[in-house]
Symmetry: C2
Subunit: 719 residues, 2 copies
Amino acid sequence: MTPTPQPPARRDSLDALFWPRAVAVIGASPREHAIGHSIVANLQAFGYRGPVHPVNPNAKPILGLKTYGALHEVPGEVDLAHLVVPAAQVPQAMADCGDKGVRAVIVNSAGFGELGAEGLRLQQAFMDEARRHGIRVLGPNCQGIINTDPSLRAYCNFTNTMPAAGGVSLVAQSGGVGGFILQGLADIGVGLRMYASNGNGCDISITEILRYLGDDPGTRVIVLYTEGLADPAAFLEVASAITARKPLLAMRAGRTARGAEAAASHTGALAGSGRVADLVFERAGITAFDDEGELIRAAMAHASQPPARGPRIALLTNTGGPAVIATDALVAQGLQVPPLGTGTVNRLREALLPQAALDNPVDVIATAGPLHFRAALQALLDDDAIDALLVAFVTPSFTDTQAIAREIAAASAGGRKPLVCNFMTDLAQERFRATHAILRDGGVPCFAYPSDAARALAALWRSQVRRDRPAESPRRPVGIDTVRARAVVERAHQRKQAMLPAADVMELLACYGIPFASSRVVGGPDDAAAAARAIGFPVVVKIDTEAASHKSDVGGVVLGLADEAAVREAMADLQARCAALAAQAPLRFVVQAQLRGGEELIVGASRAPGIGHMLMFGLGGIHVEVLGDVVFELAPVAPAQAVRMIGSIRAAALLDGVRGRAPLARAALAELIERVSWMVHDLPEIDELDLNPVLAWSDRAVAVDARIRLLREAPTAGR
Amino acid sequence: MTPTPQPPARRDSLDALFWPRAVAVIGASPREHAIGHSIVANLQAFGYRGPVHPVNPNAKPILGLKTYGALHEVPGEVDLAHLVVPAAQVPQAMADCGDKGVRAVIVNSAGFGELGAEGLRLQQAFMDEARRHGIRVLGPNCQGIINTDPSLRAYCNFTNTMPAAGGVSLVAQSGGVGGFILQGLADIGVGLRMYASNGNGCDISITEILRYLGDDPGTRVIVLYTEGLADPAAFLEVASAITARKPLLAMRAGRTARGAEAAASHTGALAGSGRVADLVFERAGITAFDDEGELIRAAMAHASQPPARGPRIALLTNTGGPAVIATDALVAQGLQVPPLGTGTVNRLREALLPQAALDNPVDVIATAGPLHFRAALQALLDDDAIDALLVAFVTPSFTDTQAIAREIAAASAGGRKPLVCNFMTDLAQERFRATHAILRDGGVPCFAYPSDAARALAALWRSQVRRDRPAESPRRPVGIDTVRARAVVERAHQRKQAMLPAADVMELLACYGIPFASSRVVGGPDDAAAAARAIGFPVVVKIDTEAASHKSDVGGVVLGLADEAAVREAMADLQARCAALAAQAPLRFVVQAQLRGGEELIVGASRAPGIGHMLMFGLGGIHVEVLGDVVFELAPVAPAQAVRMIGSIRAAALLDGVRGRAPLARAALAELIERVSWMVHDLPEIDELDLNPVLAWSDRAVAVDARIRLLREAPTAGR
């Protein structure tokens, strides 16, 4: 009988899934290419170190293995069982697994949640059994897992790529995508550590798998494919912990799914549904990709190369054109191809052929031999002003390409600086395959196209920038009255009021120390005149009503009121114009100091289910409405994050004073953003918030108009 | 003796290069891997149909061929000779070729212009010989050509990729890049028609080769790699003629070359050196690429697929996730993945498995067989609301993937709509290699990654959009006085004046019917008062001097002058402030009507050597200075092009009236741009021109400030 493998000491409920000591395949099939056959065949072909127990009522041997008529007949303990039976039989099979003491089950069968109500009922039924027995479940409707650890070699999966062992682990929400990424990694020679695809994910989640891979010492790099984040807060926590230790490369698809929800505020409308995931990726320190090919190629660079210490790249080539392309691609990715220092140029001049180009790119020319490459590689590795190397290497028939490859591999093996190779050759020819093998076996990431090599190097640098980023902990500003703020919100909730009246808005802003233009809420012309006197002229009068959501659209704002008479007249006018609204409820108005000058900005927040709120910052007016020049962050923000938001809009230069104007008070603005972020963090009932405009000068920033909408059961009227 | 091939009738001086009836290799070498050996070996290996004559003083047989001690000993006519001799011997070898009657020479040798003065002298020497004998020269420092025509099979080249015959021709400025594109095409199974790389290009240019390939009936698609355009006007003419008949896919590298020239105007500064090539590509109808991998993959789609009739793509898949990625990529490229009509959905429902998804993407699910694929393919091909198909195809072990591949190939072979395949499989397995062969031999472009497939399809659509674009011929607007305009320019040239004085600027604008705010040039307070009276108040007074190039910086503008007294005061003030300038030359001033309201815009032009001028259009103020939101075109522009420029700025929505303002007069603005474009077209002496601002209202557009700088020998003072 097959010996039982000895996986690491059990500490985790996913150990049975990723390190099974024995595997049963319930629904194993003698029919070639059936899923229940492929799994058994894959376990055998991959050299699984433990026993495989096919289970099938026919009980005839499958692939030479003793097959059992039922699970309870299987001798010994079974850590992991595959279920490859019709959906309707899965609940009973799960119960059988429980009786047998199985710890983890991969439900390969489909026909559950993805098919609607009846499928969901079956899914619920087998999960009830699983929970009753403490079984962890991967799937249903999933492929399974692979663990390439030489002591185990568990291929509990029906895909057909047989990966080499290595340090890259892969987790994919879609088995189809997981399959081709697995294939893509194998095609370019990247060794795999572990793989999991969790299908419908009704128990074990992507986040849980990520955590497990993060803790696995054999996993150097994690590659993730997802189409959304079920629990963004949990994901953020787990992913952040991982990226502090190892690179996490990820791609999120499904950006163009139809039917994004409508939103009532600027912030809501501009936020969009996918932006939360982008912000979570960014904050978690994930190296994100839009292109799956780029992700796969970046994994190759991350698998073998040390971290990049900086963005200064030296190009070394034996042919001109590809280095030109690589330079373009490096610069487009924000890297630098700096001129080389005199010391390095002198070393190169002594060592290289007279026709060589000693600038960066260094062109050793096509006739260069291994010693020329060695000298150039050494000079560039020794140059402290160079952080990483891109070697563009063609294989002229008249040079000893294998000896050159050995030089490149040796330079890479030193591990002093990241090195990637744009290797251009004809792999149909044996001598060049041998050259390629030298590079590959030497751990040199090879790319056929210069831009691909450049982008892989850029990804390495992006990962490092994220890892080096100082920890930024949001810290609560002083002078926040959370008790009073909560009272305001609860009062509004009791009134079943979604859009807060001005008095409540002003109180909330005051609780959080958010500067707001001096204002009073009034009912009629007399109050208004008194308020104006107290505030000081000129003033503005605005209607305060939920129905007039964009006040200027209904003519509900009167500006530039210079004295009491003007205030009274404006009030009368507003009352007349809004008579229809007054029929529903008594009207209130806001008298506000009219501020002079100042740059118009917008600060907003929008609820992001599962992770709190997104903050938005931008220049006001056309910048937000026409140009969409806004930036987002997750609340709450650390001081440095608020400062970075302000500097990240395209028009940031406008904040620093154009044509002689004084620079705006970025620090005051950052503090305002920070305080808003704490307000929405403390008050999850806030659905949307817009401070629009915020006016900023060289010494302060003050909100002039503010709207806050709370959540309530029924959708807001008018949506 | 080898029979002489019979190429098409000779009509073109490049026929001898691309259709040689006999080839001599001067400097042929018995040493394996020497260039002079590789060329002979390649001609043999590729099955060249004509005689190959090695020439070498040793005269020992090379690769079994009789070798001649000198060219004159070779019997019969020689169309094409390779020169693989040391640079110093090339002029004499060229003379020998002339004596022998050789019509085309490929100079493979290096050591010429790329090495400086001595090399240039040698280059000049052999070109003198070539011209004397009417020899066309490819190179020096180049690879050569390939012609895969079955009747010829000329591999006059020392690269080592042996391409299959096909319809894609390749021309590359860099042999290194040409080599890897050649390899890239071969790697993905794209057949080659012709290839040429012209190295230093001292005689036969990229443009000339392009023209030749455009005329070649066997070339279906042309792929071009270039690092710049030596003669953009000639290139534009040739490329435009080609794209009317066949797709021209091109990539331009070298965007990040250091040392762009400084410029004095907004237009000049924003134009940048590379932008001319982009505009030429755009106007020529070229399908342009920034990424060489994408270019190579697009060539595969273009080589076998019919033109796309529209942007509406149907996705057909047997697995979910990749279709999600493909949808993202298609939409990012501006294509659509529309819902399917009821008729098609009903057809699909009848034909597919119950679990299939009938939306777009259509997911036939993994267990679908060939008949399901056939039915779905037919339904989508029959749907008039679908323009092209992307098939994402995985190879589950439990399906007959070869039969499915035959269905996909049959659907593609019908040629009704473009079809590309995202084929995800393990090519290490024989059965899947066979599946791949069915697709490849059926002319189905296969891509391993969904995004790559999507972008190749998008490129097919881009090519079609360019081909379908109506011809846009610039036509001279009425009322242009070219005679007077030329006189103004010549007068300034005689005065050796680069920056034109206001009087000349105004006269030029008048000659071209370009509206300019009512203005007069004056010398002192009295003239100014009279001018202001004639123009009507309020007015502006500005200093008119070359030295005060940014007038407001030196305080040389006074606004809002409401009466004569104010004008006199302002003039006195200006004269006092500019006393230092007045010491050099008598000062002139401009009195101008002060226009009210209007949106600030900028229209400019900047000389683009070799192709006339680039026009620039943008919104004024921060939009041009901070946001860089400007667009460019080549002058002269057709009316539709001027209209498109206006609509192409990011902030174009601002022109249509924001917050209740009336839309601006786009037609008037377009006519102004058109007239400026004719001015710079007619007057090549204009180096830079800025109309900044142009003010636009709902009924007109008027230039308010204008600067025109002419070329002159010495650089302009102050630069």
